[in-house]
């Protein structure tokens, strides 16, 4: 127990001073290298506002589910059914807004999309809760329960729709899909500025809290640098999405619909898609849940040592129900985004998403042995996967080879992670 030297002053590296997560830095670095490489190979077509916009909206659905998968995997479970839960939620929502409710309320009724969304979320959460109950209370392994769910729920969706494609979805509902629902330049700047302020406030509030308890805080310059970095990144992202102009033909249609004529030379940027706002809200909420609530603390404690959690009074069975229910609700949220992006529901929506979602969480640093994982890591993992896929498509790699590369990257990423953990583990 002689460890009085642990707090002794020593020369600290830059990352230590900034208290940055070196693993996260490595991932961001890898991501940037990947983007630059694709940009060079495609003669600058990869890092255009247009492609970044598309990449962002393509990532949202998998990224939303990946945040829930972090909790599942941290708790030493797995969920193979997310793509199927997405499908059955999507089927429910499509049927409600296209077939069932319009007969009662009439097409275009403002309640259509609200009712559809609520019902979809309810279905997703209920299916997830059922899985969690089977895993937690009946002690059936999650692998088996959700493998069964993978087969069951997509086909339950098939029966709901008779296997038909249902659409077009309600126009208001389509706002959640991406290009059909963006904030426009002005409001994007407003949101961006607010987000930058919020990030800065969070950094400085954390510092004040630490100082109040007399704990060591970072040097002022380090705190200032982090604030600038965070605010800069947010504003740069907004600027990029604002720089992608809505195609002229589409603008003309919009003006026509309002009975006006488009002025000569008029242009307008897309700005932040609503779906991206949803992802950001999910990311913030899930991070707060993971770090600052009892529920999140118990998820990590249970993953670290299930017996210890149980003996400390954590109701691990109920916890299992809750994490799977949360996963199901997030699948339904992804279903809203995914189906409205396609403007209809087709029975194969979300096929193979379970693999993408698990891969995103794992590439993002979630350990299958449990107890370790971050929300932002999983989102970055989803972004890396999507960039890899669309980059290769842009370069003209044929799709079998794309899948081979993605598979190899997944295995390699986990191996690098293991080596990294062994190294840093040995040091402390």
């Amino acid at each position: 127990m002689t460890d009085a030297t642990a707090d002794a002053p020593k020369r600290r590296s830059l990352t230590e001073t900034l208290e940055l997560d070196t693993r996260l830095l490595g991932m961001v670095g890898a991501f940037l290298v990947l983007c630059l490489a694709f940009d060079i190979v495609t003669d600058g077509r990869f890092l255009t506002p247009r492609n970044i916009f598309n990449l962002t909206i393509q990532t949202v659905s998998v990224a939303i589910m990946a945040t829930g998968m972090v909790f599942i995997i941290v708790c030493r479970h797995i969920d193979l059914s997310v793509g199927s839960i997405l499908a059955v939620s999507s089927a429910t929502m499509a049927m409600i807004q296209v077939e069932w409710l319009p007969q009662l309320l009439g097409l275009g009724h403002p309640l259509l999309w609200v009712a559809a969304c609520l019902a979809g979320l309810l279905v997703g959460a209920a299916v997830g809760a059922l899985h969690g109950w089977l895993v937690g209370f009946l002690a059936i392994p999650a692998f088996i329960v959700t493998l069964g769910g993978l087969l069951i729920w997509r086909n339950a969706g098939w029966y709901l729709t008779d296997g038909q494609t249902i659409g077009p979805l309600d126009p208001t509902f389509q706002i959640f899909g991406g290009a059909n629902g963006t904030l426009g330049v002005f409001w994007s700047w407003v949101v961006g500025a607010l987000a930058a302020l919020a990030a800065a406030a969070a950094i400085w509030a954390a510092r004040a809290r630490k100082a109040k308890h007399g704990f060591a805080v970072k040097p002022l310059w380090a705190e200032a640098a982090l604030t600038l970095l965070a605010a800069g990144a947010i504003l740069a992202f907004v600027a990029t999405l604002n720089a992608y102009d809505v195609p002229t033909g589409r603008l003309e249609c919009l003006f026509e619909a309002r009975g006006e004529v488009m002025p000569e030379g008029y242009s307008e940027g897309y700005g932040l898609p609503v779906s991206v706002l949803i992802l950001i809200a999910v990311a913030v909420a899930m991070t707060v849940i993971a770090r600052r609530t009892r529920f999140g603390r118990y998820v990590f404690a249970t993953g670290g040592n299930p017996d210890a959690a149980e003996l400390s009074g954590v109701d691990t069975k109920m916890l299992t129900v809750k994490i799977f229910a949360l996963m199901g609700a997030l699948c339904a949220l992804s279903a809203i985004v995914a189906s409205s992006r396609l403007t209809n529901h087709s029975n194969d929506i979300g096929t193979l998403d379970e693999l993408r979602v698990i891969a995103a969480a794992v590439i993002g640093g979630t350990a299958l042995s449990g107890g370790i994982g971050t929300i932002h890591g999983a989102i970055l993992g989803a972004l890396i996967m999507q960039s890899l896929q669309s980059g290769m498509a842009m370069v003209g790699v044929d799709s079998p080879l794309q899948n081979i590369v993605v598979g190899a990257v997944l295995v390699a990423a986990v191996f690098i992670d293991i080596v990294y953990r062994r190294r840093t583990g040995a040091r402390s």
């Binding site: 127990m1 002689t2 460890d3 009085a4 642990a6 707090d7 809290r209 630490k210 109040k212 308890h213 007399g214 704990f215 707060v288 770090r291 600052r292 609530t293 009892r294 999140g296 603390r297 118990y298 990590f300 404690a301 249970t302 993953g303 670290g304 040592n305 017996d307 210890a308 959690a309 149980e310 003996l311 400390s312 009074g313 954590v314 109701d315 107890g371 370790i372 583990g425 402390s428």
Partner: protein
């Protein structure tokens, strides 16, 4: 005087193995009762019925003369029973403060987990229990066996237990730390706690305990006042299952 805890006629079997076989023990406030016996005698299993980790197949538990149902660890905590498990039961991936408050986190007025306050409290209690302890930020995986033990002890002591169960609390400790735990036990005893102490060190037990209960093969051999018996008589109880002869 009614005992603080009475465990009456407790039995529990795993498959065919009668791990605890009709055992009765009791504990008064301000008293330390030692549980002795070979490896596999059933000591840990017996006290796990009190801490809520297991449910006894038969028998009853009384606290201050009132029969209680302890079905899970939460029930035990509700009766102010705290346990230091032989296996320590820490979440390796969390830091000392998160482990100390696991299941009873301090929260902000808005209901969020208050990590800073928990760390401050952890520093305070550690300064008392183990002044050398400094690894507050690391996950407890990175701690030595003794450091982990002090986290487990701090967790049991922090929440004002009335009944404390210590299953081999000094197994991983060096001589100096063992002495610290002995002093802690005496201080807690003065404060009026009742303590069940499981240990394989007869000298420790004889020095700290008021009474000892000896188990062998799941059965209770007997309970004796420490003042009335010699070390050798206790050894005979443990090894031969033989009660001391009275003149």
């Amino acid at each position: 005087m009614t005992p603080l805890v009475e465990m009456r006629d407790i039995s529990i079997a795993f498959g065919g193995v009668k791990a605890v076989d009709h055992v009765s023990v009791d504990l008064h406030a301000g008293e330390v009762v030692g549980l002795l016996g070979h490896n596999g005698a059933g000591k840990s299993t017996l006290i796990k019925c009190l801490s809520g980790a297991y449910r006894a197949d038969s028998g009853s538990i009384l606290i201050e003369g009132k029969e209680v149902q302890i079905e899970n660890p939460r029930d035990a905590r509700a009766h102010n029973i705290e346990t230091i498990y032989q296996t320590l039961a820490l979440a390796d991936n969390l830091d000392a403060a998160s482990n100390l408050f696991l299941g009873r986190e301090l929260t902000t007025p808005l209901g969020f987990v208050d990590d800073d306050r928990m760390e401050a409290e952890t520093r305070r209690i550690m300064a008392r229990l183990n002044p050398n302890f400094a690894k507050f930020k690391e996950p407890v995986k990175a701690l030595s066996g003794g450091q982990r033990q002090s986290v487990a002890i701090a967790r049991a002591v922090y929440f004002n237990a009335r009944i404390l169960i210590m299953d081999e609390p000094t197994a991983a400790l060096g001589p100096q730390e063992t002495k610290m735990v002995a002093e802690l036990i005496q201080e807690l005893k003065r404060q009026g706690l009742g303590i069940f102490l499981i240990s394989h060190d007869i000298h420790d037990v004889m020095a700290l305990c008021d009474r000892v209960s000896v188990m062998k093969n799941g059965r209770l051999v007997g309970t004796e006042r420490v003042a009335d018996v010699t070390d050798d008589e206790i050894l005979a109880m443990i090894i031969l299952g033989k009660n001391p002869e009275r003149a």
